[in-house]
Amino acid sequence: MESAIEVAGLVREYRGGLLAVRGIDLAVAPGEVYGFLGPNGAGKTTTVRMLVTLLRPSGGWARVAGYDVAKEPAQVRRRIGVALQEAALDQLMTGRELMELQATLHGIAARDVRERAADLIDRVDLRAAADRRVGTYSGGMRRRLDLAMALVHAPQVLFLDEPTTGLDPVSRLTLWGEIQRLKDEGTTVFLTTQYLEEADQLADRVGIISAGRLVAEGTPEALKAEIDRPHLDLTFDGDSPDLGVAGSVLERFGDLRPPAAGAQLSVAVAGGSSAIAPVVRALDESGIGVASVELVSPTLDDVFVAKTGQRLEGEDQDGSA
């Protein structure tokens, strides 16, 4: 099956020689949600702007929905939906007017424009505010409207550039729900974010970009497994539990590993949280009472640190866009 997005050796050099994107290769399958993860200035937005035909690549090539972004930009624009960073909305217009304008720009038949706009306004729960000027909307409402506008022509591929940046937690969760719904409907989504949890929750696969280069790619689980396995940190009842017996029980579940501070033993487990009950039961049957057990799993932040040597959230990278 042809990829919804295919990128090879993509480069963008700005005037003055600034290399914002330094040769990216990636492929996104139809129906996949691809999380493009990186700190501010890593090259996420520049990459998206090339993929949505707002910027010409300086090198390499990219195909979106089967069309070359540099050679067939008009074909690409017909097939994509775009919600750019910081919801570029006309604050003087009402939500409904903007939706109807967007529908017209995307060639929706005049007789269908109102109905389509109303449907999407309902979908993102903005009916009550639809006839108010966008300038009066909260950040979350603007993002929802922006998302609805990007969906007006039922695009094959949807680009969301940091859709939740700057939103409060409730608005973020609402938007996550919408993206999850798109995912369930089979829409291909290219989602840039600097929030690890967002990528973890929504993305089928994640690409980590740092200083204009893709430094890691895979499912969140695979990326985490690359750097570490989930493990249980345990402490036991009593002043002097028999750690030898406990250790031999735990070895039946996985390799023992050096315990973290505060823990007495630690064991790598393949099953994650499902391993907790059998481990505790086996220890109990051997006469070892468990005082505490904690499942420790590597995070995407750990992955990011392992791949780039720096933490992701709150980090900026100078010199690129």
């Binding site: 707002l54 008009a74 624009r77 750019l84 570029a88 017209t104």
Partner: protein, 255 residues
């Protein structure tokens, strides 16, 4: 294409109505200058070589219209620059529309506003005693030249906005508009201008636009001034329109 241009023009017109602080100066400043000029310089008509007119107001109406249209051009440029600054321009560029429609939509709105500006000053003149010697045909000529010039000035504003990408920069050409206007025959007959302004005025297209609109007001419908005025206005439309499209291409290439 026409549907998209219409939708974008409608948006520009709606927004103009919702930003009275941008729309009002287009008529308020020229109206004030018109009243000051007519009130204080009315005896100018007694100067030797001044054309035969019913009153100085008749003569000054065309100047006020040209001034208003030039301000309209700046306003069009500022609105375009605000779209660029706010990111809405990117939304339009990312849509599957001919990109020239982005320029044409804004210019179409400028044409409607220009017609309104012309009618405002003609109505104002009639209320305060001006005569339109060319009658309805004269009004039509004023509208034709005025709307064409308004589109041309709007194209200049857009070209500057697309190059500068900043509303403040577009706003900054405001004083230049007055300099160029005063170096034309908009306010005084070319025969009464001193050197070197009279020479500059001869090559200033604003002279021909103002004279082309003035003739049907003060002396009736004449082919010569009307065609010269329309030609000058069309020349500005073509040159500024081309500059605007080139600036759009440059903006998209360099983004």
């Amino acid at each position: 294409m026409l549907r998209v241009v219409g939708a974008l023009a409608w948006r520009a017109l709606s927004n103009a109505g919702r930003r009275p602080q941008f729309l009002a100066p287009l008529v308020v400043f020229p109206t004030l200058l018109l009243s000051v000029n007519v009130g204080g310089l009315s005896r100018t008509t007694e100067l030797p070589g001044f054309p035969e007119v019913h009153g100085f107001l008749d003569f000054q109406l065309a100047a006020a219209i040209v001034q208003s249209l030039l301000l309209g051009g700046i306003s069009t440029g500022i609105a375009s620059a605000l779209d660029i600054e706010g990111g809405f321009f990117d939304r339009l560029v990312a849509a599957p529309i001919p990109r020239v429609a982005i320029v044409l939509g804004r210019l179409a709105a400028g044409a409607v506003i220009a017609a309104g500006q012309c009618l405002w000053f003609l109505a104002l003149g009639l209320v305060f005693g001006a005569h339109i010697e060319g009658g309805v045909a004269g009004v039509a000529i004023v509208l034709l030249i005025g709307v064409t010039a308004g589109v041309g000035f709007g194209a200049i504003g857009q070209a500057i906005a697309l190059r500068a990408r900043s509303a403040a920069t577009v706003q900054g050409i405001f004083p230049l508009v007055f300099v160029v206007l005063f170096m034309s025959s908009a306010f005084f007959p070319r025969a009464l201008l001193a050197s070197p302004i009279d020479v500059i005025a001869r090559f200033n297209p604003l002279s021909y636009i103002a004279d082309g609109m003035r003739a049907p007001i003060i002396s009736g419908v004449e082919a010569g001034p009307a065609l010269e005025g329309l030609g000058a206005a069309l020349g500005i439309v073509l040159v500024a329109g081309a500059l605007s499209v080139l600036a759009l291409r440059g903006r998209l290439r360099d983004a």
